[in-house]
């Protein structure tokens, strides 16, 4: 199971069109803050006093800029960012639906149409799952931290405080939240694969799936996290190498940033594909109403899904 999940995830990283789509959606949505940010930073264009910002971030110069417009510009940007983030939850739910539609039923629609059809079809169900997960994960994270809270005397930090102490203190809560996030995606895959309508049942099914396949889901998570760390390290190295005031360095940094975001989208696709492979063993595939393709799909999983289902004695139409 674990090997199959990892192989599915790695195979899905080649689905560039889906990764492009996720990147594009994310980039376009995040661009909502660009006009306000551009207007704010453009005030630096006239004053050589801001030149140190070309080399690196200087808090003092930043504060001078902020005070120069009485913080109103920053307040507008912060408000915009918060609004984008709030809407980003809903958009993320939509993107998850679209991605799963493309992964589970690659032959049903053209890529773009399938993505948007899936996003719309599963949006409301996925949103409910997300809210349930948010509530449950918050409670569980506090619960996981409580023993530490009660055991440690007041005023004392683990391991002498600092980064190690803080990391150790946060670890239980972080692990709990990671588990619930994995369970949420398992539930989403179950809903999309089985067209489930009862969200409470689907949510508990996701939890059960994450527990039952803890090894496979965990291995998948470690692999995705590992690749993400490598990408982050590569990006930071590149950004450090490109630090400087030259226009070419600034533009190359922008390219590196977007490349990083694109690869991060590909990782999201890989993670979902891996989970699809895991969940498939639990849930019968939904009956498709579309005309089967006349030629073998380029997608990795259709044939395998059929053969898996047949092996397990499930009806395949």
């Amino acid at each position: 199971m674990t090997r199959r999940a990892l192989a599915a995830a790695l195979g899905a990283m080649r689905q560039l069109s889906l990764a492009w789509l996720l990147w594009l959606l994310n980039a376009a949505f995040a661009a909502a803050i660009v006009p306000a940010a551009w207007a704010w930073w453009s005030r630096a264009a006239d004053s050589p006093e801001t030149d140190p910002l070309l080399e690196r971030f200087r808090f003092g110069v930043f504060l001078e800029l902020a005070r120069a417009d009485d913080w109103s510009g920053l307040a507008a940007i912060a408000t915009t960012a918060l609004a984008v983030l709030a809407a980003g939850v809903a958009v993320g739910v939509f993107a998850s639906g679209g991605a799963l539609q493309r992964l589970l039923y690659p032959a049903e629609d053209r890529a773009m149409a399938g993505f948007f059809r899936g996003g719309g079809r599963f949006w409301w169900r996925f949103l409910r799952l997300t809210i349930m997960t948010g509530v449950a994960a918050s409670i569980a994270a506090v619960g996981a931290s409580l023993p530490l809270l009660l055991v440690l005397p007041p005023d004392r930090a683990l391991a002498g405080g600092g980064l190690v102490g803080a990391a150790a203190e946060l670890l239980p809560a972080a692990l709990v939240i990671a588990f619930f996030c994995a369970a949420l995606d398992c539930a989403r895959v179950r809903v999309a694969a089985g067209d489930e309508r009862g969200m409470i049942r689907a949510w508990f099914g996701g939890l059960w799936c994450a527990v039952r396949h803890l090894l496979a889901v965990g291995a998948l998570g470690v692999m995705v996290l590992g690749i993400w760390l490598i990408l982050a390290w590569a990006y930071l190295s590149a950004a450090r190498g490109l630090a400087g005031a030259a226009t070419s360095a600034i533009l190359l940094t922008v390219v590196a940033q977007q490349l990083f975001m694109f690869l991060r989208s590909a990782l999201r696709v890989a993670w979902l594909a891996g989970l699809v492979s895991v969940v498939r063993s639990d849930v019968p595939p939904r009956v498709s109403t579309s005309i089967p393709p006349t030629a073998p799909s380029r997608m990795y999983d259709t044939a395998r899904a059929v053969s898996d289902a047949e092996e397990e004695g499930l009806p395949v139409v």
Binding site: R156, G162, V254
Partner: protein
């Protein structure tokens, strides 16, 4: 985050316990006397120390801490010498613990029951009961004791008391009185009180106010200067010699003002420590069984190199041997959880003793005690008393990534700086708080820039640096200049304006002055002021006079503009224009003064091809237009290119390019877009 949650949980538990314990003193209600119980024995008074200059009020005090009732029972003998040529008919006292007595006190009315963000809601109140007051000959003065409200007439305030003497104290005469008192300690939120077994005991005994002879601080006639305890003020008192016996249960670790001269174990499982210090104007002490006691010695020879003495001598125009520093016994009382920060605290204390000693004269006392309050007692943090200061830190700063956030160092250095600006140069913090907080903030900033790289003198976090100057400039806006720097502490618009006006604006004013008259001249100004007014009570005019005299320039106008007015300093590079070509090209640079403060400024003009020219403008008019006839066009121009004018409210508008350069905008807008994408990926997944 969990540390924060734990702190919140602890605070909630403390509040709950406190609410149960709270005696609930209502405004105007009669104050209960403490219930009869087995009280700790207050040992006999130590002998009154011999008076020596500078001594106006000498104290012999015996105090016993009741750790269960959170009270101090004490008796004291005060010898007050009339420093004036007047016959003084009365004595005025500070009873500052009464500031915490009821919601109606002036302190509570002004503060809304909070200080530095720590609230006293549901915390136990505090007060001081004077149970006996007699002259040396036994005359009972208690019936003659009345409460005075010189600042606001608030009938609920009992922080200043006056006793009419049977006969006036003649010029140079000394009157001796014996007082018995009980100090009911508040739960600590404003400098003094208790938190569990931690005790920080300040403003805890009846203390004589300052009688200012004619001529002191500009007075035309002698008189008492006694102010009520205000929310936005610290203290003012007269010099004296203190000998204090402190009795506590044996398990407690104790620290106090002055040198510990003896220690004895009593038969009732208590210990009595005796402390002695001359030439100070207050006495504070602390007790906590959890303290980790660290002793370290600052050596005037081993900790200061010959090169450092030589550099200071050159700066001040003195001989190195005239600057020799004395040894100081440093006692650090640390909370156990903050043990990893012991070396940081000691290093900061040694740096402060060394540099302030070299700059402003040797630290004259043999001891320095630094107290690290626990988290629950954070309201006691960041405070100064003679030879005794409290730090301010948290265990989160023990290691990476916060170990380069210099809050503990800055706190120790700043509070030690008060040994000069409050301790030795004893200005009146009620009326002119900038003379200690402001001058001390300037001194702190200078020291930080010497000890740490100037760009990192406040914090380095995740590779980002923040300097002390940038921190000081944070509130430097037109709106924050709502009050004058020199005005009584309780008359400021709000806390933030007070903090800016009294701490940061004077730091920026003096930083600007230093760059205007030169570092060496400024160093000599500060040295002369510190020496001339050591063990005395100066006012702002005295500082202005020393600065003008030493610099050889009349600086009165500068101080009137910056310290005694609400105007701001703001110059703007308004426009760069060019006409013609080749040798007939004429370029103009328009410079405007937007603020009210007028100081000379330097303007740097950069031309295409790399040529640079500097001009000076006296800044008296509202604007000036500089004209240049040369073949190269002006590329950019900058007012105050060396950042001399620390007080300028905006450095951004000090410079302008002929053509805009959008690289900063591209770089940082794209980065913010990138961060937004990452955040969206996080919440959207």
């Amino acid at each position: 985050m969990l540390s924060l949650m734990r702190a919140l949980a602890t605070a909630a538990a403390l509040l709950l316990v406190t609410a149960i314990q709270d005696r609930g003193i209502a405004p105007g209600a009669p104050v209960e006397q403490p219930a009869a119980r087995t009280a700790p024995v207050v040992p006999a008074l130590p002998a009154l120390p011999a008076a020596g200059p500078p001594s106006v009020a000498d104290y012999a005090i015996s105090a016993a801490l009741d750790v269960n009732a959170k009270e101090v029972r004490g008796r004291e003998r005060i010898a007050w010498r009339n420093p004036s040529g007047d016959a003084v008919p009365d004595l005025w006292f500070h009873l500052y613990l009464n500031a915490f007595k009821s919601p109606g006190t002036t302190f509570n009315r002004e503060s809304g029951g909070q200080l530095r963000g720590v609230s006293n809601a549901s915390l136990r109140a505090g007060r001081i009961d004077v149970t006996s007051m007699r002259l040396e000959d036994g005359t009972d003065l208690r019936p003659r004791l009345t409460f005075e409200r010189p600042d606001d007439g608030n009938p609920d305030d009992e922080t200043v008391a006056r006793v009419l003497l049977p006969r006036p104290v003649g010029p140079g005469e000394t009157v001796t009185i014996d007082v018995e008192f009980t100090s009911v300690l508040p739960q600590v939120y404003a400098r003094t009180g208790y938190a569990g077994d931690f005790f920080l005991i300040g403003q805890w005994f009846p203390k004589v106010a300052v009688y200012e002879p004619a001529g002191t601080r500009g007075r035309s006639a002698g008189g008492w200067n006694a102010h009520q305890f205000h929310a936005l003020s610290e203290f003012y008192a007269d010099f004296g010699h203190y000998r204090v016996d402190i009795t506590v249960p044996q398990r407690f670790v104790v620290g106090a003002t002055g040198r510990r001269v003896s220690e004895r174990i009593n038969t009732d499982a208590t210990r009595t420590f005796t402390y002695d210090q001359a030439g100070v104007h207050d006495f504070a002490w602390t007790a906590d069984p959890r303290f980790v006691e660290v002793r370290e010695r600052f050596s005037g020879t081993a900790d200061v190199s010959a090169a450092e003495y030589a550099a200071a001598a050159t700066l001040l125009g003195r001989r190195p041997e005239d600057l020799t520093l004395s040894d100081v016994e440093i006692t650090l009382l640390m909370q156990p959880e903050n043990r990893p920060q012991i070396a940081r605290h000691i290093a900061a204390a040694k740096a402060a003793i060394k540099h302030f000693g070299l700059w402003y004269g040797p630290y004259p006392y043999g001891t320095l005690t630094i107290v690290d309050p626990p988290l629950a007692g954070e309201g006691a943090g960041g405070m100064e008393y003679p030879t005794f200061i409290t730090g301010g830190t948290a265990s989160a700063l023990n290691g990476p990534p916060f170990d380069r956030v210099l809050i503990p160092e800055i706190t120790v250095i700043h509070e030690f700086g008060h040994q000069y600006w409050y301790g030795l140069v004893a200005s009146n913090e009620f009326e002119e708080a900038w003379l200690d907080e402001g001058i001390n903030s300037y001194s702190t900033g200078k020291l930080l820039d010497v000890v740490y790289p100037p760009t990192e003198s406040f914090a380095t976090l995740f590779g980002l640096t923040f300097s002390e100057t940038e921190f000081a400039r944070f509130d430097n806006t037109r709106a924050m200049n709502a009050d004058r720097v020199r005005q009584p502490s309780w008359t400021f618009l709000e806390d933030r304006v007070y903090a800016y006006s009294v701490y940061y604006k004077p730091e920026l004013v003096l930083g600007t002055l230093e760059r205007m008259i030169g570092e060496q001249t400024m160093a000599r100004v500060m040295r002369a002021y510190a020496e001339r007014w050591r063990f005395r009570h100066p006012n702002s005019d005295d500082f202005y006079a020393v600065a003008s005299e030493v610099s050889g320039r009349d600086l009165t106008t500068f101080f009137k503009q910056t310290i005694e007015d609400t105007g701001v300093l703001d110059y703007e590079l308004a426009e760069i224009a060019s006409a013609g070509t080749g040798a007939s090209r004429t370029s103009t640079v328009l410079v405007r003064r937007l603020g009210e403060i007028q100081v000379p400024v330097e303007i740097e003009i950069r031309f295409e091809g790399g040529a640079v020219e500097r001009r000076t403008w006296d800044g008296r008019d509202r604007w000036t237009r500089l004209t240049f006839t040369r073949p190269e066009a002006v590329e950019s121009a900058r007012i105050d290119p060396d950042h001399t004018l620390r007080l300028d409210v905006s450095w951004i508008n000090n410079a302008r390019r002929a053509e805009p350069d959008r690289r900063v905008a591209v770089k940082w807008t794209s980065r913010w877009w990138f961060w937004m994408q990452n955040l969206l990926s996080l919440v959207g997944a």
